[in-house]
């Protein structure tokens, strides 16, 4: 009798838990499904047809979104910005985090807290000084200016994550490398970076998403259409009062594909990285 009760309770718990998880998954997936469905419909039927599956599929929306939104140029720009910024962040943050973790120099803690404190400043709050600074440096409307700013945006969190990781790295590994003839940079390259791969994967994913979806800073710093990122192309479908939903959704679908691909490619690492941020060596 007791066993039957136990089984019934377990089954009930399992059903309740799975129902809850399925409903959460569906609520996450629904906007994506709605986006793809709307991207295949004509503007008149988006709000009148209730079905998730459109009666007539309009693939031409994708062509129109690509052409009208000038996606060809914007797409390449976004790829360039994302690659350059992520490489820059990984390079600088791993060196900085390693230095904060392993080296002793005057003002080390102050510098570190300054970096961490930078995370607290909301981006819009720094727009005016940033614009003035970039204009004085002659970096306004330049790709380099935008890339440097975006690297700066991504550094604090990345340094914090990697420093936490390096702090837990056993000193014995470094000693062994030193015996083998490695210098500071050699230890960073041959020992610290390979061990930090899960944390680096998290940094790559977070920063890729951040740069790929960013447009406010790009709009502030860039003037030439030829230098704008993909998100700005999507904005062209949002009028002051009206929205071209079919093109907007097609544009959003196009722009979300690379992000989904990056996530799928690094899915294993990201879960491992988040789960094992404290386990090193």
């Amino acid at each position: 009798m007791k066993t039957t009760n136990y089984r019934a309770i377990n089954t009930f718990k399992s059903v309740a838990l799975h129902s809850f998880l399925i409903s959460v998954a569906l609520s996450c997936l629904f906007p994506l499904i709605w986006m793809v469905r709307s991207s295949l419909m004509d503007p008149e039927t988006i709000f009148t047809e209730k079905s998730l599956f459109p009666k007539a599929i309009r693939l031409v929306n994708y062509y129109n979104a690509w052409a009208e939104g000038n996606f060809g140029v914007y797409f390449l720009n976004s790829v360039l910005y994302t690659t350059a910024v992520v490489v820059g962040i990984v390079f600088i943050s791993s060196l900085a985090a390693y230095a904060f973790s392993r080296l002793s120099f005057p003002g080390k803690n102050i510098f570190f807290y300054m970096f961490v404190g930078a995370m607290m400043i909301p981006l819009p709050g720094s727009f005016v000084p940033l614009y003035v600074l970039m204009s004085k440096l002659g970096l306004l409307n330049s790709r380099l200016g935008y890339i440097l700013c975006m690297i700066n945006v991504g550094l604090p969190l990345s340094i914090l994550l990697l420093k936490t990781f390096f702090d837990k790295m056993p000193p014995d590994l470094e000693d062994a490398a030193r015996i083998d003839g490695c210098g500071r940079l050699g230890i960073w390259w041959h020992v610290a970076l390979p061990l930090a791969r899960p944390a680096l994967a998290v940094i790559v994913i977070f920063n890729s998403l951040n740069v790929w979806n960013e447009f406010i800073l790009a709009m502030l710093l860039l003037n030439d259409k030829a230098k704008m990122p993909l998100q700005l192309g999507i904005m062209t479908f949002q009028g002051a009062h009206s929205v071209d939903y079919h093109l907007l959704m097609a544009g959003l679908t196009i722009s979300s594909i690379p992000v989904i691909l990056i996530y799928l490619a690094m899915q294993k690492h990201i879960i491992k990285g988040l789960a094992s941020v404290g386990v090193v060596g």
């Binding site: 503007p43 390079f91 790709r143 940079l185 062209t236 009028g239 002051a240």
Partner: protein
């Protein structure tokens, strides 16, 4: 990693930075006129106009779009602080901010251009179109009197009616007065058609609708006297304004959830024939067309309660452009704006974007719904041109009061009392602040 590898990485980064920086700011050609705007839906036609202008005059106008509006405002603010505004830029903020720009020397005074040749440019535009850009003698902003912007279109707020749904309820014509309007809402309710929809989840739409009726019920002088603080909101005429909402609620003709509905959803309801009447701005022509090109509807002033005073609706210059005071090509910039607001260009803008033209001569060449909207331009008013404006806290109390009436929680008399109490509080607060300021002086 050996020193050679480290050297290669640093070298590659250095070369990369040089390549990327090769395309940094090119000096602007002295002949070009740069125009910044945020009007996504008008970008194509503005580009087209710039192309035509170059063909006709040889002057290169570079149109640069930055949207959405809030991001555009940030860019303009930052550029203004860095003294790097373009030659022409779209105004998007409040009149107070606009006045700040003028006082800080960022905006050129265009009065002399408007008044040249016997005021030819000014006379070609709807007088109300210029009001938002005009500062009169002794204005509260402390700005030198003059005209500081060029409207490329105008807007106004009116009542829209769905011809098919009215016919279903047995009506061939729109209502002539408020009593008839309430009768129609009841008739529509009887056959299961929601009567009236508007984005009353947004405070400004309720503010607009109620001030239209306030002007109609008590006239402009009494509305201004109320804003000044000389007439209380408990005055019977103000109770009548609140009664407008109560009667609409009692008719059962308000769309479900109207008090929390954003205007975008209200627009969907009307476009998809889920409501017979809508209160909306003239931009809706474009919105409705995109959602339902076959929608058959008409435009009218909100039906009046009183025939002693005219119905005044909100309306003004829609989108305006200013010329940078520091621009090196100021004359060229003004010439382009003058050309853009001429009849032919205005008709093209109106046809392509379905906005109302700011040039009154262009009305003959635009679609009929748009010309119907423009016919009411002489009946427009706007808080930006009033001598007095209500305290925002009182406006919010007013809005919450209207919501309570629609919910059936409060009577018009109670709401009038509450709004007056808030008004009194704010008047006393302002007095205290002024006294403190005087003492400090």
């Amino acid at each position: 990693m050996n020193k050679i590898s480290a050297g290669i990485i640093v070298f590659c980064l250095f070369i990369g930075l040089i390549i990327l920086n090769k395309d940094k700011v090119k000096e602007k050609s002295p002949d070009k006129v740069i125009l910044w705007h945020w009007l996504t839906d008008r970008d194509k036609v503005l580009q087209e106009l710039a192309r035509k202008y170059k063909e006709q005059t040889g002057v290169d106008v570079v149109v640069e779009l930055y949207a959405p509006a809030d991001s555009y405002v940030r860019k303009v603010t930052a550029a203004a602080q860095a003294k790097m505004l373009p030659d022409i830029y779209g105004n998007v903020d409040t009149k107070e901010t606009f006045a700040n720009y003028i006082r800080s020397g960022q905006v050129a005074d265009l009065t002399s251009y408007f008044q040249a040749d016997n005021q030819a440019w000014e006379a070609s535009l709807f007088p109300k179109a210029l009001e938002g850009n005009r500062f009169y003698e002794d204005n509260i902003y402390g700005v030198k009197p003059g005209i500081y912007g060029v409207p490329i279109d105008v807007t106004n707020m009116q009542l829209l009616y769905n011809k098919k749904l009215l016919a279903k309820a047995g009506f061939q014509n729109p209502p002539k007065d408020f009593a008839e309007f309430i009768g129609m809402l009841k008739a529509l309710k009887r056959i299961g058609i929601p009567g009236f929809v508007s984005g009353w989840g947004e405070l400004w739409l309720v503010d607009c609708f109620s001030s239209n009726y306030a002007f109609n019920i008590m006239g402009e002088a009494k509305v201004m006297a109320t804003l000044k603080g000389d007439v209380p909101y408990t005055d019977p005429d103000w109770v009548k304004v609140f009664m407008v909402f109560k009667e609409m609620k009692d008719s059962g003709g308000l769309a479900e959830g109207i008090i929390t509905k954003p205007n975008k959803y209200a627009e969907q309801d009307f476009a998809l024939e889920r409501a017979a009447f809508a209160f909306n701005g003239s931009w809706c022509v474009n919105v409705y067309y995109k959602m339902n090109p076959r929608l058959s509807y008409g435009v009218m002033l909100p039906p009046p309660v009183n025939d002693k005073f005219p119905m005044m609706i909100w309306g003004n210059g829609g989108s305006s452009f200013s010329v940078n005071y520091r621009s090196k090509v100021k004359e060229r910039a003004v010439d382009f704006l003058k050309w853009m607001t001429a009849k032919e260009q205005q008709a093209l803008l109106a046809k392509e974007t379905m906005n109302l033209p700011s040039n009154r001569e262009a009305v003959a060449d635009i679609p009929s719904v748009l010309s119907d909207f423009t016919m009411a331009m002489d009946a427009t008013t706007h808080p930006t041109v009033w001598k007095y404006n209500e305290n925002p806290i009182v406006v919010e109390r007013f809005y919450k009061g209207v919501q309570s009436i629609i919910l059936g929680d409060k009577t018009p008399e109670t709401v009038a009392q509450e709004v007056q109490e808030e008004k009194q509080k704010q008047i006393e607060r302002e007095k205290r602040i002024n006294n403190r300021k005087n003492r400090a002086k």
